[in-house]
């Protein structure tokens, strides 16, 4: 059983389309972090969401933390080929040191 379930697992879209990916759990998190990972590289932090209901924007990326702090979503507007990558959510329900990662959503944006 995965602590953090990400969906969809794979997503292939055309440039200019909008998309939303999800990170869900039955556990409550004090915060969730979103990372993007390229093949053979380390996760690169995109955002940390802390407050239930919080919305954070990073250019064309919009992150939302659920009111109950059990889930989060990432919405990309007008996707570009440079958005291609593996999007990971991570958090620790015990507010400790160990980040639990989801398996990620692999996004492919074609021109």
């Amino acid at each position: 059983t995965q602590l953090l379930e990400q969906s969809p697992q794979f997503l292939s879209i055309q440039e200019g389309e909008n998309l939303t990916v999800y990170c869900n759990s039955s556990s409550v998190f004090s915060s969730l972090q979103w990372y993007r990972q390229e093949p053979g590289e380390g996760p690169v932090l995109l955002v940390t969401v802390v407050t239930g209901g919080e919305v954070k924007k990073l250019k064309r990326l919009t992150f939302q933390f659920g009111d109950a702090r059990k889930d989060s979503s990432l919405h990309i507007t007008a996707a570009q080929p440079g958005d291609t990558g593996l999007y990971l959510c991570a958090g620790d329900p015990n507010s400790g040191y160990a980040l639990n990662f989801g398996k990620g959503t692999s996004l492919l944006v074609t021109p």
Binding site: S30, S31, Q33, Y35, G40, E41, G42, P43, V44, L45, T48, V50, L88, A90, D92, N94, S95, G96, Y97, A98, L99, N100, F101, G102, K103, G104
Partner: protein, 115 residues
């Protein structure tokens, strides 16, 4: 922008050999971590380290693993006797303070291949 660095980027070793993976965390960070990612699988927590002590470790982090901060800048992960199943990407991370809302910043990883 400060970043976590790791060396080597790739390491090939024979089963049973010892390996040491090195990391330089971001300079003002106090908490250090090791994670691993087996090919095609999710990133998994190994250990966290603060004030020269292990603060938390996972079931993966058995007696074959150890961590050390040998000086003011380096943070190392040692695997005493490598097994085939230790082949993975190993990521170091650091944060300013402990868990909760504190963000962990990851290095580029060391790809370890055990033959």
């Amino acid at each position: 922008e400060p970043e976590v660095t790791q060396t080597p980027s790739h390491q090939v070793t024979q089963m049973g050999q010892e390996v040491i993976l090195r990391c330089v965390p971001i300079s003002n960070h106090l908490y250090f971590y090791w994670y691993r990612q087996i090919l095609g699988q999710k990133v998994e927590f190994l250990v966290s380290f603060y004030n020269n002590e292990i603060s938390e470790k996972s079931e993966i982090f058995d007696d074959q693993f150890s961590v050390e901060r040998p000086d003011g800048s380096n943070f190392t992960l040692k695997i005493r006797s490598t097994k085939l199943e230790d082949s993975a990407m190993y990521f170091c991370a650091s944060s300013e303070s402990e868990g909760g809302a504190e963000t962990q910043y990851f290095g580029p990883g060391t790809r370890l291949l055990v033959l």
